[in-house]
């Protein structure tokens, strides 16, 4: 069986949904950050797959994926710092307990 673009997209969608599920359901902030990483990587898979199958000679998609990886690293750094700050102030990293946004 020839592996085509559709397969990549399905894997990517599944990966995105897993990441989204993790973001929406996990109580631990760190796990949520991990969910976000999953979603970013799902996007990377999409970028690489589209680059490979629609414009094989170009490098745009791959470069863009590299930018996203860089961005993800930054995001993880900032996110973890936020988690640390939240923990110091609120003594928890469970997002359902952090309710200062509520009225």
């Amino acid at each position: 069986m020839q592996v085509g673009l559709t397969h990549f997209l399905i894997v990517s969608a599944l990966l995105f949904c897993l990441g989204l599920y993790a973001v929406l359901t996990r109580r631990n902030a760190v796990a949520i950050l991990m969910g976000i990483e999953l979603m970013l990587n799902a996007a990377n898979v999409n970028l690489i797959a589209f680059n490979k199958f629609t414009a094989p000679g170009a490098l745009n998609g791959q470069v863009f994926a590299l930018v996203v990886i860089t961005l993800a690293a930054c995001e993880a750094g900032v996110g973890l710092a936020l988690v640390m700050a939240a923990y110091r102030n609120l003594e928890t990293i469970h997002v359902d307990e952090i309710n200062v946004m509520k009225w």
Partner: protein, 647 residues
């Protein structure tokens, strides 16, 4: 001079206005202004009189009042012989009384108001006299009625005075209603208010043969007009107000209720004499004569038993006015007016003398007095002159005029002559009864300190006494009766003077005085015995023929009862209806309040509660958990994508 006649009522009117506006700040607290006003009128009247003596052509001045459809209504003043005589009487007697009042009223707290009223009265009376039409005459007529009311009730703190004022006003008003009907009848049949036109039309036979309700129109009109005169001149049966009117200050009694206003009725009959004279069979004239006769005799009998000096004079006034009416009624036009003139002087004199006595004694009761001749010589002598004039003793004023009336009656209506003669006898009797009680004998009251009145009061007394002595000569036959030459009614021949009758009337008067002296001076026949001998007659007369009681039962009570019934109707029906509306309003308001609280407010509250409830429910959406929001965002994106993909 006669062109200035319109000024005559203006002077006192101006005085009235000035006193009303400035009151006590005027010279003499207003009294001098009033006196100046009336004296100015008096001088002008005398001037006009002198001019009229020369060429007695009537003077008229008119102005166009209004147009009734095509009918022009001209009103104005008229100066003729009759007017001139009345002007003289009113202003000259009025001046004396005004001056006298300065002394009589000097301690009164409402001093200036008194003079304001007097001035208004003089102005109204002069307007009445000067009027050449029934409108002005009626206006003056009602104004003098008003002044009379105000002045009778001058001491309004006294309930009796207030009641007397009301009685006078209402009683005369009864007569005035008739008079008003008479005026309207004349206006609607003849279309004019002016005397001259009325009389011309009447004498040309404008109303001849016309009837109203089966009666001749002319007689009806004349009798209706006479109704006003009956009320104003206190003739039977409307005379009951005059004795009560003596509650007013004595100068008022003299001016209004003896000399001038009450004479207005006689003046009215004289003024409208053509109507009476032209009525079929002279029935109207006969009515005047009989009413006059009844009043004269009835009032004279009552005067005999009165103990209040002013009431004696009041009944005397009714009696004398009755005599004038009698004179006019039997055809003695000149005689009636002559008696009016002389009477005005001597009756004013008697009243002012009585006022002087009352001023000194502080009581009206002649039985309390006595022996005043020595203490008050001026008052005594002038009062005596007045009494002699009233009795009709030669040569005083009353002799000439009363004699003329009796003469006319003797020739035209012997029955009424008997009435007149009896009245004369009684007149002399009652006035000398007063004199003997008041001035002779000894003082019966122990707490009175009588003294002679000041010059400002005795002065007018002497002037009036002089007039009362000499004024009769203007009608003296041996001087050619100048009064008759000046004032007469064309078409009536005066009865020639009869020395026999004059002697007879003198004898009657002397008999009256003699009888009074026998009973009250020499006391040969004690008054007690006389009273007992008269028995029920005395009771009847002392109770004034029970006329007041009759009116009380026949008129006053029913009227009061009707008033009471109407009041109850007002209170229980009209007020109840009004209250019902009020209560209905309150009930409706309650209903509206319920609607407001439960429906209008309810709706507002429902909106509030709905919003609050929705907020209460929706607040749970705002969890504050980022994950929930994120979920919503994700779901939203999915929905958007789904709609974008499957459109």
């Amino acid at each position: 001079m006669v062109e200035l006649a319109w000024l005559i009522p203006v002077f006192p009117l101006a005085a009235f206005a000035l006193i009303t506006a400035f009151g006590r700040r005027l010279p003499g607290e207003g009294a001098y202004v009033a006196v100046a006003g009336i004296i100015a009128s008096a001088l002008l009247s005398i001037g006009i009189f002198l001019q009229m003596l020369g060429h007695p052509t009537p003077y008229e001045a008119n102005f166009r009042w209004m147009l009734v459809g095509q009918l022009p209504l001209d009103l104005g003043i008229r100066v003729d012989a009759l007017t001139t005589v009345m002007l003289l009487v009113v202003t000259v007697v009025g001046s004396m009384i005004f001056i006298y009042s300065i002394g009589y009223m000097h301690e009164d707290p409402r001093y200036s108001r008194f003079f304001a009223y007097l001035s208004l009265f003089a102005a109204s009376m002069l307007l009445l006299v000067l009027a050449n039409n029934l409108v002005f005459l009626y206006a003056g007529w009602e104004l003098v009625g008003l002044c009379s009311y105000l002045l009778i009730g001058f001491y309004f703190e006294r309930p009796s005075a207030a009641r007397a004022a009301m009685k006078a006003f209402i009683t005369t008003r009864v007569g005035d209603v008739f008079m008003f009907l008479g005026i309207l009848l004349l206006f609607f049949t003849l279309g004019t208010f002016r005397f001259e036109e009325i009389f011309t039309k009447v004498s040309q036979g404008a109303l001849t043969g016309q009837t109203i309700g089966g009666l001749p129109t002319l007689t009806v009109a004349a009798v209706l007009i006479f109704g006003g005169a009956v009320g104003k001149s206190a003739q039977f049966p409307l005379h009951t107000w005059l004795p009560d009117a003596m509650e007013g200050p004595t100068p008022v009694s003299a001016l209004i209720h003896a000399a001038t206003m009450v004479a207005a009725g006689v003046y009215l009959v004289a003024r409208a004499y053509t109507l009476f004279f032209a009525s079929p069979g002279q029935e109207a004239l006969l009515a005047v004569a009989y009413i006059g006769g009844i009043s004269a005799l009835m009032a004279a009998t009552i005067a005999v038993v009165q103990d209040d000096i002013k009431r004696v004079l009041a009944y005397s006034t009714i009696s004398q006015l009755g005599l004038m009416m009698l004179g006019l009624g039997v055809g003695g036009y000149t005689a009636g007016m002559f008696h009016l003139t002389t009477h005005a002087f001597f009756k004013a004199l008697l009243f002012l003398g009585a006022g002087s006595v009352i001023h000194a004694m502080r009581t009206n009761d002649i039985k309390q007095m006595g022996g005043l001749a020595k203490v008050m010589p001026s008052t005594y002598w002038t009062f005596l002159i007045g009494a002699l004039a009233l009795s009709g003793i030669f040569p005083f004023a009353g002799f000439w005029s009363k004699d003329e009336i009796l003469l006319e009656a003797f020739h035209n209506n012997p029955a009424l002559f008997v009435v007149g003669a009896l009245t004369s006898f009684l007149t002399a009797f009652y006035i000398f009864r007063v004199i003997f009680y008041t001035f002779s004998g000894t003082l019966r009251s122990h707490d009175a300190h009588p003294h002679e009145s000041p010059g400002v009061m005795t002065g007018p007394l002497w002037v009036l006494a002089a007039f009362s002595t000499v004024i009769g000569f203007v009608g003296a036959p041996f001087l050619g009766n100048p009064f008759h030459a000046f004032l007469r009614f064309e078409g009536v021949e005066a009865v020639p003077f009869s020395p026999t009758l004059a002697l007879a009337s003198l004898a009657i008067a002397a008999a009256g005085i003699g009888a009074a002296a026998v009973v009250y001076h020499w006391k040969i026949v004690p008054a007690q015995a006389l009273r007992r001998a008269a028995g029920p007659l005395h009771t009847l007369v002392a109770n004034k023929y029970y006329l007041d009681e009759l009116y009380a039962v026949a008129i006053v009570r029913p009227v009061l009862w009707i008033a009471w019934a109407l009041r109850n109707f007002d209170v229980y029906v009209i007020d109840a209806l009004v209250n019902l509306f009020g209560l209905a309003g309150v009930g409706l308001a309650r209903l509206y309040r319920l609607m407001d609280t439960y429906i209008v407010d309810g709706l507002v509250n429902v909106v509030g509660y709905a919003v609050k409830g929705a907020g209460g429910v929706l607040r749970y959406v705002q969890t504050g958990r980022a994950q929930n929001y994120l979920l919503a965002i994700a779901l939203g994106v999915i929905v958007l994508l789904a709609t974008g993909l499957f459109r």
